[in-house]
Point group: C2
Chain length 418, copies 2
């Protein structure tokens, strides 16, 4: 059902008809993200994402907002480490209008100097907001520590200093070099046929000139270590983790199963041992931050300062148990059921399907059907889960960040060694 068309300039159009819906989810994606920035450019992609809503040659910022609000109610954009996406879900009758707006902001934004100055202030406020939200900020601190001095470790929104240094020329130059048709994917899922998507987008994008240079991406390596960020908060927020199989690594399915068993759901080891059996935390979970050539598997928890050490001891013990093979066929089956069930439940909406279309195109250059993914998960063996747990949590190869009322030296658990 999924079809793909490549325009002469290299721009790809992928779509999936979902005829039972009345809506279409449409995204214009560029596979350029914060990892393609130098330290000085840190925050440029995110700045560009903001600026594309601030006016084109045909539309003022207010026009864009009015038109999107009138047809959508659900339009948005995001910048990630590896790509940037402008998207919306609209009733099918509004598809052509939406396509015109999104293509216009991607191709014809003026990046007016006075708008750059104003938007800089908005972004600086956004950076402050992240700092005020500890369960978000701790993830930035953890990633910065893990992938130290590497673009993958830098915050997507930039820093106060880097955002201060980005001017109009830097933004337009970055767009000219990086926003090219070869790196652009139009993805649509919903009540629409591929022929219509192509018919609408071909005239919009056929004059988009190819060229620009492909950014060279280097693979980040984990910097082991501990950072204690003292702050006056009610709780200590903690992230700890290590390198895991990337999104293109054959071990990624075993890694997903391991993550589920460790702390991915209510029946997981960490949820049961930390929250259910001991009441040490309200929020505790493990997570996978996966990219094309790198990934982190981590644990997040928030708890009282005096409960940090007992909780870390349990996390350390539970990871150790899985590493030693204390995991059953039953655990494996439960984790797979949970993963596969979640996969198919997530397949019903237009937005999730649209996102998968683009991500599969960037990662694999092809569509990966849900059934294929489910089969890959089903095939994972117990010994592969144990093996991946050992290779992820290697002796000494961990990073740990804390944020809250905990002082350097108060950490009494050697979480880094097994």
């Amino acid at each position: 059902m999924v079809r793909k068309t490549v325009l002469p300039n290299g721009l790809r159009i992928v779509s999936e008809p979902l005829r039972y819906l009345k809506s279409v989810s449409l995204g214009i994606w560029v596979d350029i993200g914060s990892r393609d920035e130098t330290a000085v450019e840190c925050g440029t992609c995110h700045f560009i994402e903001h600026m594309l809503f601030k006016g084109t040659r045909r539309r003022s910022a207010l026009d864009i907002a009015l038109e999107l609000d009138a047809i959508g109610g659900l339009s948005n954009a995001f910048t990630a480490k590896e790509n940037t996406c402008f998207y919306a879900r609209v009733l099918d009758k509004h598809f052509v209008r939406l396509a015109d707006i999104l293509a216009d902001i991607v191709l014809n934004s003026t990046i007016a100097p006075e708008e750059v100055e104003r938007e800089r202030q908005v972004i600086l406020q956004e950076i402050c907001m992240v700092e005020d939200t500890p369960d978000e900020y701790i993830h930035d601190l953890f990633t910065a520590l893990s992938w130290k001095d590497h673009p993958m470790g830098m915050p997507i929104q930039g820093t106060e200093q880097s955002v201060d240094g980005i001017d109009r020329a830097a933004l337009t130059d970055f767009i000219r070099r990086r926003y090219v048709p070869e790196r652009t994917v139009v993805a649509a899922a919903g009540n629409i046929e591929h022929e219509e998507v192509v018919a609408v987008f071909k005239p919009l994008f056929e004059d988009f000139p190819p060229g620009g240079d492909a950014p060279a991406r280097s693979i980040p390596e984990l910097t082991p270590g501990v950072i204690v960020h003292e702050k006056d908060l009610e709780q200590v927020h903690i992230c700890l983790g290590a390198s895991a199989p990337s999104q293109r690594d054959p071990q990624r399915f075993a890694s997903a199963v391991f993550n589920t068993i460790l702390g991915g759901n209510m029946s997981s080891r960490l949820f049961q041992e930390i929250r259910e059996k001991r009441g040490l935390a309200y929020a505790v979970y493990s997570f996978l931050s996966s990219y094309a050539d790198a990934a982190l598997l981590g644990v997040y928890m928030a708890t009282d300062a005096q409960q940090v050490n007992p909780a870390l001891e349990i996390i350390h013990r539970e990871i150790g148990k899985i590493r030693r093979g204390e995991v059953s066929e039953n655990d494996l089956t439960n984790a797979k059921e949970n993963l596969v069930g979640g996969l198919y439940l997530g397949a019903e909406g237009a937005e999730g399907r649209m996102m998968r279309l683009a991500k599969n195109e960037f990662l694999f250059g092809r569509y990966v059907p849900y059934d294929e993914l489910a089969e890959s998960i089903e095939r994972v063996r117990l010994d592969e889960v144990v093996e991946v747990s050992r290779s992820v949590f290697e002796n000494g190869r961990l990073a740990l960040a804390t944020l809250g009322p905990l002082k350097q030296g108060e950490l009494a658990v050697d979480i880094l060694h097994f």
Copy 2:
């Protein structure tokens, strides 16, 4: 398509078949919430919500977690001011199993004393987490100020003090008195027929004994005033607002349109004036917190301490403009398009439909079709929007709360008077 069955004990079953889906969203709702608690009981409903996952006569806490994870991946519960809901979305083949688990936890939870003590610690951590999240905590502060000394103003999760005082007897007594079939609604939406929902739930719930007393709910009144909560944060988080038409008030449609025009979307007055034209904030919006007999219409914003007064002046001016009738037919049309579009876009998923089934049953005792709601929005006239803006933002009848690095006395804008 929506059908309803009332069992002899008063329990209501409402369902809506969505045959194009492969999943079913199922919720067991009780129309008892934090507003039905006394000051001493504050947090009881939320405590009960937690305890219902901690073991029944047939299932341990781990059994419940394992079974829900195996079939769902997406199961959850929440406590609101007026109701409590236990729900999950599962593939249709798992419907019977899900129904059995959810009915079991609602009817047969043991509320074991040692589990009460453990879960108390989890909830105390949850309370700390809310306090550490300023864009969430400011809403609690604002509501507590607006509806001072009234159950509607108390935090749903309780306070440290109140949660400390709730024991097993208080929980089981509350359940016995309040969790009765007359106040329970089973709602299902997705790939399922009404006959099957009834056939599954009738045996599960037919022995649920009717009785218990209906809680007397008093209507909260707004306490005007200002509270400045000083805290070491990057930004000052602000909520201000006033009484608005309730969910049963005929003026609620005009109020929704007013909210949209004021700060409900990207083209709204506040987003344009505060963020787009001046870069004073990243997050600024207006919101409606609506209940059966009361509502608050408020504005949220986060910004630097030194920008608080200029921003408040603009908020004050923009509200004043609408009150003076400076709003056009164009504004009205745009707001309606946005509201109606969002309504139909939200209608595609099973979960949103399931929630509407239960809420309509509690509020109106009947299903309100999407088309009827859309027509009510379409009928709103410009003079009604102006009228509602005047009655909401009455001279002196406002509440304002701030959280962040702003001192008492630094507020230089009389936001309370027009």
